[in-house]
């Protein structure tokens, strides 16, 4: 992985980047009955949980994660970020809340083409983790945000929910509001809450979910963490604070704060 010496980053893990493709002949794979994506996910989980000290922190086809311990500018220079082009960028810096900073525990948390950066705390981590484990995910990165990535992978890729429905499952409306909905919608929401109760993300969060076709910003059901969105021309910005947006776009055309649990879903115009 191309990196450069940066003052402030004294030690870093050995970083390797491989361009890999699952064997086309499925019968030659360790597990033949899996689709390519499932095979990659399984392999990532296997490496992360079984090989001591080795972690895969980026496994996308059209997504790259650059992360580490250091301030964001240093990390960007370390990874020579200026040499990459991208049409969606997410950035994150954090005060490591529950775990000391370590390279695997930095944001984003990614799997395939999904990436998550997160401000807050998933207080429902315990049950989200057990729910995911039922589907073969192994949670090895010692931090709550990891569940978000896998929950999206499960709900969107494996269960086939559209992104809006997945967001609704993860930050579901209250029963009180569901009871007031028209019948069809009530039935749908009730089913969603019943089935995805263990996936419900509880606690304070605002999250950016990046994927190859767009970007989603959403926050928890009672908006315990902030989220601001803005647009200028065809570009959309989302951040925890408006000033962060202003730093790169000093005069956005529209700035708004999405309501609790109301996802801002942006899709690429292709």
């Amino acid at each position: 992985m191309p990196t450069t010496q940066v003052e402030g980053i004294a030690i870093s893990p050995l970083l390797w980047r491989y361009f890999v493709k699952p064997l086309t002949e499925k019968s030659e794979r360790e597990v033949a009955n899996l689709e390519d994506d499932d095979f990659v996910v399984r392999t990532v989980m296997k490496i992360n949980s079984e090989i001591d000290g080795a972690y895969v922190f980026s496994s996308g086809k059209n997504m790259g994660a650059f992360k580490g311990v250091g301030n964001p500018g240093e990390i960007a220079r370390f990874f020579k970020i200026e040499e990459y082009d991208g049409y969606i960028w997410t950035g994150h810096t954090r005060f490591p809340t529950n775990t000391p900073g370590w390279w695997g525990g930095a944001h984003p948390f990614t799997l395939l083409d999904w990436s998550i950066v997160h401000n807050g705390e998933i207080s429902s981590y315990g049950i989200n983790k057990r729910y995911l484990e039922m589907y073969g995910y192994k949670l090895t990165l010692l931090t709550d945000t990891e569940v978000v990535t896998y929950l999206f992978d499960l709900l969107v890729r494996r269960h086939g929910l559209d992104i809006e429905t997945a967001c609704t499952a993860l930050a579901a409306p209250f029963w009180k509001n569901i009871d007031d909905m028209p019948n069809d919608e009530k039935e749908e929401m009730t089913a969603l809450r019943m089935i995805y109760g263990s996936a419900l993300m509880n606690g304070p969060f605002s999250i950016l979910f990046g994927h190859s076709k767009g970007l989603v910003g959403f926050n928890d059901r009672i908006k315990l963490r902030p989220l601001v969105a803005a647009t200028k021309g065809k570009t959309v910005y989302m951040a925890s604070e408006e000033s962060a947006i202003r730093e790169i776009c000093s005069s956005p055309e529209k700035v708004w704060s999405p309501r609790a649990g109301e996802p801002v879903i942006v899709e690429l115009e292709i």
Partner: protein, 245 residues
């Protein structure tokens, strides 16, 4: 009048400069190119007017005691946290958790406000904190409010979102909320009731609104031509029956 260019200045340095100037008796300060610096005017005392260009960061005017702040643009979260006196005028929108535990002074916002505005505002004797928002508000407006006054106007009729969110005045046990236009009881917390205004209420309200309209060059008559509703707690001790002894 002192002008400080805040571009790229770390918040501690910026606030240090402001504090020093105010303690030397500076009465008018202009902060240009502010973007995201936290704690501006936090804990600041004395008479001074600070005008802010750009978007100030969180905890603006926290524990503030006296000064007047004028923000030309939008502002972020936690403005007027536990503020004691003084005034903050915001020409744009403001974020969540405004005036948390505010004990006095005024917060005038021209635009929309976020969630949990006026949360646990206190009133004591002559100290009556007041928050007036010209736009719309999110959920938990006036949550556990214990005193003071919250006024929501909803002046921008092009914004189709509801005037105020759910759980209005939930846990409220003191103070008064005035809402311009109606409010559906089902969005109110269990602890409050909705009333028509009395003549005394109107006089009181017009007093506050006159000052607000002056700040933003609005016509008072346009503001008060729509009926207000008053929301007050039904009990000073909403949870008296919750515990067993």
């Amino acid at each position: 009048m002192l002008t400080i260019d805040a571009k790229g200045i770390y918040y501690r340095d910026l606030n240090q400069k402001v504090r020093e100037a105010v303690s030397k008796g500076e009465k008018e300060i202009l902060l240009k190119n502010v973007n995201g610096q936290y704690y501006i005017a936090t804990g600041l005392r004395n008479e001074a007017t600070i005008t802010i260009e750009g978007v100030p960061g969180n905890d603006l005017a926290a524990f503030m005691d006296g000064p007047t702040l004028i923000v030309k643009d939008n502002a972020q979260d936690n403005i007027g946290n536990t503020m004691n006196s003084g005034k903050v005028i915001i020409h744009g929108n403001a974020g969540d958790v405004l005036g948390y535990g505010m004990r006095g002074g005024k917060l005038h916002i021209r635009g929309n406000v976020g969630y949990r505005v006026g949360i646990h505002m206190k009133g004591y004797k002559k100290q009556i904190p007041v928050i007036i928002a010209g736009g719309k508000a999110g959920d938990f407006f006036g949550e556990y409010m214990a005193g003071g006054m919250l006024i929501l106007l909803g002046l921008d009729s092009s914004d189709k979102r509801p005037l105020v969110g759910d759980y209005l005045g939930t846990g409220m046990h003191g103070g008064t909320i005035f809402i311009r236009g109606g409010v559906d009881k089902k969005f109110c917390g269990a602890e409050v009731s909705v009333h028509e205004l009395t003549d005394d209420d109107r006089t009181l309200l017009e007093g506050y609104l006159t000052e607000y309209c002056n700040d933003f060059k609005l016509n008072l008559l346009d503001v008060i031509k729509v009926e207000f509703k008053k929301i007050i707690p039904t009990s000073l001790r909403p949870y008296g029956n919750l515990y067993a002894y």
